[in-house]
């Protein structure tokens, strides 16, 4: 699987070194919105310079190259075991080349063997579809922003949050307040309403596969997304939590069925270094197109 290996290494390189267009555009808009001469403006200017430099030098945008999460849409019959093997090899080679930091630690011994691979690393999610194409999406999810994610169980008495969309709004905004700038804002929220504790977080992360400028096809969730984005940006948390106008660049929300007894709202936070890319592979596993 030599060319699949090459394609995956190239996917990792580009994901680590270049932000997708929609994210760049949102950051440019936020820089224009900040007041001139503030530290918020300085922070965003430095971020812009950083993005440009990383792309030019083909180096990681951020040194925390994160958890490596692949989402694979594949035709029936793809050998998933072989794919996973190749993905591990690609991660190891990309690490040797410096596209990824040595970033994976054995949770029992505390040792970092420098390969970025081990139980659960990288994570590979497969979804079959009835089309001959293979689409591979990759997210590099940093630790700082992962740490400010939160899962709420409704009703949440202290926040006066009941089991309805207004309750969801309250806890999601609480997550924004608690995160402040600690997840390297301006950030992006991925939210799942419902599910169990595991699927809730899983689906919340999948929201990061959406483009920033898309709209939710479900009108109630769309309204909630717009409302939270607007409200969060009125709080004055700002880039890096320095104060300022842009606290969030986007909010993406999905819903999953739940059992009657549970009502979880799972919030994942993505930093401005929103590394997401994807490729479509041809029959010989060459990259035939980029998805973002």
């Amino acid at each position: 699987m030599a060319s699949l290996l090459d394609s995956l290494i190239e996917l990792i390189r580009r994901t680590s070194a270049e932000l997708p267009e929609d994210v760049n555009a949102a950051l440019v808009r936020s820089l224009e919105a900040e007041k001139k001469g503030t530290i918020a403006e300085s922070a965003l200017k430095l971020i812009e310079r950083n993005i440009e430099l990383a792309k030019r030098k083909s180096q990681p945008i951020c040194q925390d190259t994160g958890s490596v999460i692949f989402y694979v849409e594949c035709p029936l019959g793809l050998d998933q075991l072989a794919f996973e093997e190749t993905a591990r090899e690609a991660v190891q080679q990309a690490t040797k080349k410096g596209y990824l930091r040595q970033n994976s630690v054995d949770s029992i011994t505390g040792k970092n063997d420098g390969t970025n691979t081990g139980p659960g690393a990288p994570a590979v999610h497969f979804h079959q579809h009835r089309s001959p194409e293979t689409n591979i999406r990759l997210i590099l999810k940093g630790g700082g922003c992962e740490n400010v994610g939160a899962q709420y169980s409704l009703p949440a008495e202290k926040l006066h949050a009941n089991r309805d969309l207004d309750g969801c709004r309250k806890v999601i905004l609480d997550a924004v307040l608690q995160a402040q700038g600690k997840g390297c804002g301006p950030g992006i929220l991925g939210v799942c309403i419902g599910g169990d504790r595991a699927t809730g977080y899983e689906f919340s992360k999948q929201q990061f596969l959406r483009k920033l400028d898309d709209r939710n096809p479900e009108p109630k969730l769309d309204a909630l997304e717009q409302d939270i984005l607007k409200t969060a940006n009125e709080l004055g948390i700002g880039p890096m939590g320095f104060g300022g106008k842009t606290t969030l660049l986007g909010v993406k929300i999905c819903a999953a069925n739940r059992v009657p007894a549970s009502y979880f709202v799972s919030v994942s936070y993505m930093c401005w270094a929103y590394r997401r890319q994807g490729v479509t592979l041809g029959a010989d596993s060459q990259i035939t197109g980029w998805l973002y």
Binding site: N50, K182, L235
Partner: protein, 191 residues
């Protein structure tokens, strides 16, 4: 814009206020979770590492070993500082630090430590790994590499014009506390 050159005097540090932008010249030592826990538990610093008047940088850089055996820093942004809150004030006092560089800010214990010992918290731009790596002109040494692995080791970095913002000063002020209080009040109006 204030320029700080290491080693830094107490008077220089006490003159800084929340919101000041600074650029740093001189030496930074990296240290994150493993180093803080180690020092807190009484671990000894290697003799080459002198933190007095110096700056500790919460950072796990990406380092590439060159053919001639030297190291090149290819990414060097800050990591989240609050994880070191249980240890930071003690380490500031024990080693005579004048500044701690990181991201996300720290809590009341560290703020009190800054006030007591003449130290500031300097917020670097989280994620700006490339811009900050460009400020690293030389990797002067690395310590505890075997024990802790690359991101957690102590790296001695020579820097030029390294940008940061004072978000906690030596007078008991914290931008993080201010912004939290303000945003909490604004949110209450909108619920």
């Amino acid at each position: 814009m204030t320029t700080l050159t290491t080693p830094i005097s107490e008077a220089t540090i006490r003159a800084l206020k929340v919101g000041d932008e600074v650029q740093i010249n001189g030496t930074l030592y990296t240290g994150r979770d493993a180093v803080h826990k180690y020092l807190h538990e009484g671990g000894q610093l290697p003799p080459e590492v002198n933190l007095a008047g110096g700056l500790l940088y919460h950072c796990g850089p990406v380092m590439m070993k060159q053919d001639d055996g030297t190291w090149k820093c290819t990414a060097a942004g800050p990591t989240t500082s609050i994880r070191e809150e249980p240890y930071q004030a003690q380490i500031i006092g024990d080693f005579g630090l004048r500044g701690v560089i990181g991201k996300g800010g720290m809590g009341d214990q560290t703020l009190a430590g800054c006030q007591a010992h003449g130290c500031v918290y300097l917020h670097a731009i989280g994620g700006a790994a490339q811009v900050l790596a460009e400020c690293v002109t030389r990797v002067k040494g690395v310590y505890l590499l075997e024990q802790f692995g690359s991101p957690e080791a102590i790296w001695e970095l020579e820097v030029v014009n390294f940008p940061a913002v004072v978000t906690m000063d030596a007078h008991g002020n914290s931008l993080h506390r201010e912004v939290f209080a303000h945003s909490q009040a604004e949110l209450a109006k909108r619920l």
